[in-house]
């Protein structure tokens, strides 16, 4: 993030300043431009053609024509219906010409939503190209007036290998991100304000805008029968609790383990490190599915616990009422087990990172502390930990956010194993062990409840964003990006 920017508000200010500057430039171009610059507001190639940049003029003309054609042929079918998301229900009608029943010319709400969105994105992009084009025309005009050299097409192209190389580099990746991340996110933000669910599935039926009612339902409204509010609070609570424990247990565990292994007394530290890394090198879908069977109700751990009498003892003191220990199938037990299993796969990761950092500990400081008579514990508390926190503090936050969205651990450990007995949760397709993301996943994959899933997704985003912004502002003092360049 920016060097001269310590608060997001400043960044936003700068952002708008930048946009303002862009439009101011446009204003100057329009007011001070000659007739060709002004003409390029309508015919985008005009300015270039005037100054003999014919290839550029042709490219802009073709682009303009393409966007106009796109608007007439494609956008006009969908954008006008964006306000209602379609009105014509799909049904069979009798066609007097062929004497057969055929589908009518129905509206597909989802297509209308998606294609309208794509049209908006194209138009906004084109709008900026259009403004930029006018500015460029004006720039060329100014250059020509001063009698400066005007670039030929070849020279323009060559700029993309040099001053404008960043454009060459960024075009494809940004395009990929726009198509596969930005548009989908915008699409689902829109879906959160519709009633797109199992009863409103295109193409057979329509869905429409419903305003904020999904969010009202999620935050406890929506009538007596809706349990989404209850489930949301339960699951949000567990999500935050999980993210907190998952982050801190693995973080502390990782540091302790790396200290243990990097200790002078340890024989063969490399061997031990590799042994721990092996557990995370096995893909999670293998290791987690395996562990889930390891701790299954009729699994091997239960057999073992029964054999040594642990199961009987737990039943005697009233902790369980079944003939097995419900490691992953009862609330409470499952919650603890999930966090423990997460320690199993998370600690080696953190150990790797901590090892890297510890190797760079300021050795002279530790040495002088030792000479001054500091005990190992004091050195740990006063030098090692602060240093670790300083370096890895930001990753602690990203880890927390990642854990809020930690789909794999929860899904692979509990899907198909854990069934809830809580009727209120079951009514909204939730379970006690769900995170917001696994709930969202189940709502879409098994119940086609896209409207609620989208609303949950937006809430997850807001939570993550708030944590990140607050934490980053507190922890990162200035930017270190350029200090060592």
């Amino acid at each position: 993030m920016a060097n001269n920017k310590k608060t997001p508000s400043k960044a936003i200010g700068r952002f708008f300043k930048g946009i303002g500057g862009f439009f101011a430039e446009f204003g100057t171009a329009v007011s001070k431009g000659d007739i060709f610059t002004k003409l390029s507001l309508i015919w985008m190639g005009a300015g270039y053609a005037r100054h003999k940049q014919f290839i550029k003029a042709a490219i802009m003309t073709v682009l303009e024509a393409a966007v106009i054609l796109f608007s007439i042929l494609f956008a006009s079918q969908y954008v006008p219906k964006f306000g209602t998301l379609g009105t014509v229900q799909a049904e069979m009608i009798f066609d007097p010409v062929t004497m057969k029943n055929i589908m009518n010319d129905y509206d597909n709400s989802f297509k209308i939503l998606l294609y309208s969105l794509i049209c908006f994105v194209v138009w906004i992009a084109f709008f900026f190209v259009w403004i930029k084009n006018t500015i460029n025309s004006y720039k060329i005009q100014v250059k020509a007036d001063k009698g400066e050299h005007i670039n030929t097409f070849i020279e323009d192209i060559r700029m993309y290998k040099d001053e404008k190389f960043h454009i060459t580099l960024l075009t494809l990746p940004v395009l990929g991100i726009v198509i596969f991340t930005v548009i989908p996110i915008l699409l689902l933000i829109l879906v959160a304000f519709t009633n797109y669910d199992q009863n409103h599935m295109p193409p057979s039926s329509l869905f429409s805008w419903v305003g904020l009612s999904n969010f009202v339902k999620l935050f406890g409204g929506g009538g007596m029968t809706s349990t989404f509010g209850y489930s949301f609070v339960r699951i949000l609570g567990w999500t935050l609790l999980w993210a907190f424990f998952a982050t801190f247990t693995t973080y502390i565990g990782g540091i302790l383990l790396s200290l243990l292994i990097n200790n002078k007394r340890t024989k063969l530290p490399k061997l031990w490190r590799t042994l721990f890394v092996v557990t995370i090198a096995v893909p999670q879908f293998v290791s987690l599915l395996l562990v889930r069977n390891f701790f299954a109700n009729g699994g091997i751990v239960n057999t073992f616990c029964k054999a040594i009498g642990l199961t009987g003892w737990l039943r005697d003191i009233g902790l369980i009422s079944t003939s097995y220990i419900p490691f992953l199938s009862a609330p409470g037990w499952a919650h603890v087990m999930i966090i423990l299993i997460n320690i199993w796969i998370g600690v080696p990761y953190q150990m790797l990172i901590a090892t890297g950092v510890l190797m760079n500990l300021p050795a002279d400081q530790i040495e002088s502390a030792r000479i001054d008579g500091a005990r190992p514990r004091q050195i740990f508390a006063k030098i090692t930990m602060p240093y670790m926190l300083f370096i890895t503090g930001p990753t602690l936050i990203t880890d927390f956010v990642k854990n809020i969205n930690n789909f794999n651990v929860i899904y692979l450990l509990t899907e198909g194993v854990y069934t809830t007995t809580n009727q209120a949760l079951a009514n909204s397709q939730a379970k006690e062990v769900d995170l917001l993301v696994t709930w969202l996943f189940r709502l879409t994959q098994d119940y086609y409840n896209y409207k609620m899933a989208s609303a949950i997704g937006i809430v997850v985003f807001i939570i993550c964003a708030v944590f990140t912004l607050v934490a980053f502002n507190k922890m990162i003092k200035g930017d270190r990006e350029e200090t060592f360049q």
């Binding site: 993030m1 952002f15 930048g18 297509k111 998606l114 040099d162 190389f165 960043h166 580099l169 960024l170 494809l172 990746p173 940004v174 990929g176 991100i177 596969f180 991340t181 989908p184 996110i185 689902l188 243990l260 292994i261 200790n263 007394r265 024989k267 031990w272 042994l275 890394v277 092996v278 090198a281 096995v282 893909p283 999670q284 879908f285 293998v286 290791s287 599915l289 395996l290 069977n293 299954a296 091997i300 057999t303 990172i353 890297g356 950092v357 190797m359 760079n360 956010v401 969205n405 899904y411 692979l412 994959q445 899933a453 997704g457 985003f461 993550c464 964003a465 270190r480 060592f484 360049q485």
Partner: protein, 280 residues
Amino acid sequence: MKKKGLKTFFHNLLIAVLAIIWLIPIVWLLFTSFSSYDGINTSSFFPEEWSIKHYVQLFQPDTVAQFPRWFLNTFVIACCTCVISTMFILMVAYATSVMRFKARKPLMNVAVILNLFPGMLSMIAVYFVLKMFNLTNNHLGLIMVYSASSGLGYLIAKGFFDTVPRALCEAAKIDGCSESKIFFKMILPLSRPIIVYTVISSFLVPWMDFVYAKIILNAGISSKYTVAIGLYRMLDKSLINQYFTLFCAAGIVISIPISALFVLMQKFYVEGVTGGAVKG
């Protein structure tokens, strides 16, 4: 002196005990894969009868388990993803790290925000878009899903490029080097560790991923599965008693190359991450 020796002994014992706890499930995986019994052995840790027949069975596909096919699918997807992602990541990292242009910081801030959205959220919409273009249950669609947005994961590579001294680039520029020349002739040859890291990590994405493949390959066509989905399917309630040992064998076979790559990668990972952070 004797006390010190005892301390060392207990210290190493502690590590050994921890390592054993950590390795128990993996060892169980290994032993079970050599069992001659098809389902889960719930009565003892070690198999009652040893055999390698499930390893043989892996390469004799049936309608459910088509391991060679899945392996090939995943391999092809991984190779394509690897090439595209590596290019995207290095391109974005260079542009944001070495070059200076107006939109740089706004773009980086947007990337931070986009990274906060749960990937699953956009995936569900991507599924619809792909479905409209008939790209679901299709490997091309999956490759696009893995690699299209990979530019967002540029931060580690950027952190590495940041450590390349600026003066070097400036000197080259004064000597008349174009930006593209600096990128290809100077920065890339200097960045071998981070290139290796990026190549391996993007190659591993399709091998490690579960959820995206599950969303895209949802039609239940076994011959199109990736390894992750195939193995998950084998543990279906109706199949687990027939295929559990096969699952373990497949898990071992798949884990060996992945672990090797992973161990190789983590060396570069630690180098890359701490190299970037510590010097600050």
